[in-house]
């Protein structure tokens, strides 16, 4: 009896330990977002020194060092922007195109016809003490062109005929760069392109072989040879930290070590860095992880200083705060989650049906954004509603503000269909009963008895993608619309579901959801994405008015024309808009810095030179 009693006590104790261990930090879904939306203020008296350990996003460990990896290398670049700065630093908060203070140059000055741009370099230095000059920018542009000459796929922001095509650069003085443009660009659009131009050392990297002669990179042939040499050197991961080439940097840090097995690396201060920020930290350790669960475990063990938390662990925020962490979450700027529509899919007359704006409007009204956000099975509270291509908090907001044109309203969706000639059969099969064109009729080429049935390709990860697609299909079914959700791997979708590059498979998908689509955070132009001839126009969307507006935001003089483009797209629905999940940033409360430097982590832009430990 005594023995049994001991056993019972031991069992109860074991269960209690397990229950305590497994329960940490749970919270009600509706309270989750409220626990992290306030930005923690910059605090404390800065201390010199210390090492910050930063968690890399699982699955995104770096494997390349040259800032422009060729497409065939599929490179994830080490410490992007920290070793080599771009000419203009993208704004981490997405409220402007570039962060003027952190940029290598003063804002560009345009000629009246916008075809000549003069750029004055700031007083930055390379790690070897030499100044960063306009020649370095000319060199960088030459290497970008060389990459594109090898393959247009080598720079994912490239549209044939646009930047850097038709752009010539000349260093008219050591600190003055003049760009001559064949076509005038919208200043904001050009600036967004220049935020992508990394400035590389022209006097150390202008070689085509180790110890080889210095070449005139202005000759395309030489630039190509240099590019090939640099990309070849970047294939040797074991030499990333030891190769003297990669030690010449203009950013606040230099690479100290790199572990090819894991992708973890460490950065040491660039003592010659002359830009803003005190660079108080001695070292930054970027640690690679195999899973989001492993990141969470290391946060809980207190072994990480900074990182992002997978939104599926949002319920652990309370526990992390109790462990001494700050947590801040927000949607990444200009992140767009949407169901991409294939306007060229002819299966079951889908192209005819979806061409009708009222059908798209009805479908958008079936998406319960607030419901998805609140659902534990979808976003678990960690997302924000979004109804435009600009994302949330953009400097180019749509004209309708926070009053979306087609909010969730199944009754309105049903009315839209009924008013346009459809016999709505809830949970059955809705059919067109009044064919023809004109008010109250189904629309051009839609025959009597036509149903609405289509395939939605849904990415197999992350989990919320499948959940939201199933929720949408369920809502559609209630209106007699059949949505067949098929799960596909992200890579399969990337490779096969896009009419610009895979026209043969256009009838395999009517809609697709592959998670996030990112536009340029500071200037979310949909050039290439939604213009008729756009190289990334996956679903063959066509709208002459939108083409005109995209042209204005890309080539026009009015920097605010992007708002009109964003508004027109939100109203015409080239895609169906879904909520944007939050990026959750976690950092120890013993580390501080400007709020913007932590907010920028939602865009994965690191500025550790602004951080410091405090007592």
């Amino acid at each position: 009896m005594k023995h049994r009693g001991r056993l019972s006590v031991a069992l109860v104790a074991a269960v209690a330990v397990l229950a305590t261990a497994c329960s940490g930090g749970g919270g009600a879904t509706r309270d989750i977002a409220g626990s992290y939306t306030a930005k923690p203020a910059q605090t404390g008296t800065p201390k010199q020194g210390g090492t910050a350990t930063v968690a890399l996003t699982p699955g995104l460990s770096p494997n390349y060092i040259y800032p422009y990896p060729p497409a065939a290398a599929n490179g994830t670049v080490i410490a992007r922007g920290q070793l080599w700065r771009s000419l203009y630093r993208p704004s981490g908060e997405g409220d402007q195109v570039a962060d003027a203070e952190l940029s290598l140059a003063e804002p560009p000055v345009y000629s009246p016809d916008r075809k000549t741009v003069t750029i004055t370099m700031k007083d930055y230095k390379w790690s070897n003490g030499k100044p960063v000059t306009a020649d370095d920018v000319v060199f960088s542009l030459a290497l970008l062109k060389a990459a594109l000459a090898e393959s247009p796929a080598n720079w994912s922001f490239y549209t044939p005929g646009q930047f850097p095509d038709g752009v010539s650069a000349e260093a008219t003085a050591p600190d003055t760069l003049t760009l001559k443009l064949r076509t005038a660009y919208n200043p904001s659009y050009l600036l967004s392109m220049l935020t992508l131009l990394y400035v590389l050392p022209s006097t150390e990297w202008n070689i085509a072989a180790t110890g080889g002669p210095h070449l005139d990179y202005k000759q395309p042939k030489n630039a190509r040879a240099i590019y090939r040499y640099l990309t070849k050197e970047s294939e040797s991961q074991a030499t990333f930290a030891g190769n003297p080439l990669w030690q010449v940097v203009n950013g606040p840090y230099r690479l100290k070590s790199f572990d090819p097995t894991t992708g973890s690396f460490s950065l040491a201060r660039n003592e010659s860095y002359s830009g803003p920020g005190e660079s108080r930290l001695d070292q930054i350790e970027f640690k690679a992880f195999t899973s989001a669960a492993a990141v969470l475990n290391q946060f809980k063990a207190g072994n990480l200083t900074v990182g992002t938390l997978d939104s599926s662990f949002a319920a652990q925020i309370g526990a992390l705060k109790a462990e001494g962490y700050n947590v801040y979450g927000a949607p990444a700027p200009a992140r767009l989650d949407a169901l991409v529509i294939n306007f060229a899919n002819t299966v079951g007359n889908f192209d005819k049906v979806i061409a009708q704006p009222y059908v798209r409007q009805a479908l958008q009204r079936l998406i319960d954004q607030q419901g998805y956000i609140a659902s534990r099975g979808v976003y678990n509270g960690a997302a924000s509603p979004n109804y435009s291509t600009a994302g949330t908090g953009s400097p180019y907001p749509p004209a309708f503000g926070d009053q979306p044109p087609y909010p969730y309203d199944p009754a309105a969706a049903e009315k839209l269909l009924a008013d346009n000639g459809w016999k709505v059969v809830p949970n059955g099969s809705t059919t067109c009963e009044r064919p023809g064109t004109g008010p109250g009729l189904c629309g051009a080429d839609i025959p009597r008895g036509q149903t609405i049935s289509f395939t939605l390709a849904s990415a197999s990860s992350p989990a919320f993608v499948g959940a939201r697609d199933v929720a949408f299909a369920s809502a559609a079914k209630k209106l007699g619309i059949e949505v067949k959700v098929v799960t596909k791997s992200l890579n399969y979708m990337y490779a096969n579901y896009g009419n610009t590059f895979a026209p043969a498979t256009r009838n395999e998908w009517a809609m697709q959801d592959y998670g996030a689509l990112y536009l340029a955070a500071g200037y979310p132009s949909s050039n290439t994405v939604f213009n008729t001839e756009g190289s990334f126009n996956l679903g063959s969307y066509r709208n002459a008015e939108v083409d005109k507006l995209i042209g204005a935001s890309t080539f026009g003089a009015d920097e605010k024309s992007l708002s009109a483009e964003v508004t027109a797209l939100a109203r015409d629905l080239p895609v169906l808009f879904l909520p944007t999940p939050h990026t959750l940033v976690v950092w120890k409360d013993t580390l501080s810095g400007p709020q913007s430097s932590f907010n920028a982590l939602t865009s994965f832009l690191y500025t550790p030179e602004l951080w410091y430990f405090h007592s």
């Binding site: 330990v17 261990a21 494997n63 393959s151 572990d259 195999t290 063990a301 890579n491």
Partner: protein
């Protein structure tokens, strides 16, 4: 014995050739144009065609396979599309880590399961036997990711005895001399195996305990300890040897959960990531290695069993 080994070796090589052909063909069917996967959505059709031509993907599949075999014979496993690294280097880097944790888990499992199984057999239907059997079923039914999470929650976060992360060192010696860091991953791997091995061992030992040679040994008055260690153990272990031989590739594949949970990159995770990224050279090499390990495991098990039981060779 030599003839037996040579004959098994020849069969193993044929099986491997067959595996390589089937895997190559299947991957070819899944993606006959790797250029699109490699170059991405924005690549022009011309660039994709150029890539496929440069890498020989526009040739007939048989020619591609023969070319692959030729390179394979020279030790060239190709280059990863996605990881900017030679496949051979990738596998070499990760295989050691995977082997280390798998081997440690296997050894720990065997060290516990073999005596436990024999103890259960000897004390058949006792309380010890029933408790051990029930525990085995529970542990066998517990998913390893759940077990790993529980171990972390209890022994790393609630009672911080062990770190939640496996050793990040690449040196086997450093890892070997830091058992604390490897404790939780090794225990996670071992526990499920213990459950299987112990029940297997118990069943085999029960079979042997009813054999005449055990009765004779007992009738001769041999001490029970000698009967168990000298006679029973050797014969009761033969089925387990066969089982362990076939489990070698499974152990590597099973590492995926442990590698993922304990931040210990190895072959399992490399395979999963390659699958998600459709990195075919890595998938092909990994599957081939899985085939080699399966064939090698069976081959070694056959030879060991044949050496232990001469009747197998004669009957073969």
């Amino acid at each position: 014995m030599t003839w037996y080994v040579l004959r098994r070796l020849a069969v193993s090589l044929l099986v491997l050739l067959g595996i390589s052909a089937v895997v190559f063909l299947m991957l070819h069917l899944v993606s006959d144009s790797p250029g699109r996967v490699v170059l991405g959505q924005r690549a022009s059709p011309e660039a994709v065609a150029d890539f496929n031509r440069e890498h020989g993907f526009d040739r007939p599949v048989v020619a591609q396979y023969v070319g692959y075999l030729g390179r394979l014979l020279q030790g060239d496993l190709g280059r990863s599309y996605k990881l900017n690294e030679d496949v051979g280097t990738l596998l070499a880097r990760n295989a050691g880590r995977s082997a280390m944790v798998s081997l440690a888990g296997l050894v720990l499992a065997l060290l516990i399961a073999v005596p436990l199984g024999i103890l259960q057999a000897v004390r058949r239907n006792s309380v010890v036997d029933r408790v051990a059997t029930a525990a085995s079923y529970v542990l066998y039914a517990t998913p390893s990711f759940l077990l790993g999470l529980l171990l972390i929650a209890v022994f790393s976060q609630t009672i911080p005895i062990f770190p939640a992360e496996a050793s990040q060192s690449h040196s086997p010696w450093v890892v070997f001399t830091d058992p604390r860091a490897m404790a939780l991953p090794v225990i996670t791997l071992a526990v499920t195996s213990i459950a299987v091995f112990a029940q297997y061992q118990r069943s085999a030992a029960l079979d042997q305990l009813g054999q005449d040679y055990i009765r004779v040994a007992r009738a001769k008055g041999l001490p029970e300890r000698l009967i168990l260690t000298r006679h029973l153990l050797r014969n009761a272990c033969l089925p387990l040897v066969m089982l362990v031989g076939t489990l070698v590739p499974t152990l590597l594949a099973g590492n995926l959960i442990v590698e993922s949970l304990f931040n210990y990159p190895g072959l399992g995770l490399l395979f999963l990531n390659s699958l998600q990224r459709e990195d075919y050279p890595v998938l092909l090499a990994y599957t081939l290695i899985g085939g080699v390990l399966t064939v090698a495991g069976n081959f070694v098990a056959d030879v060991v069993v044949a050496a232990a039981d001469r009747r197998i060779e004669l009957g073969a």
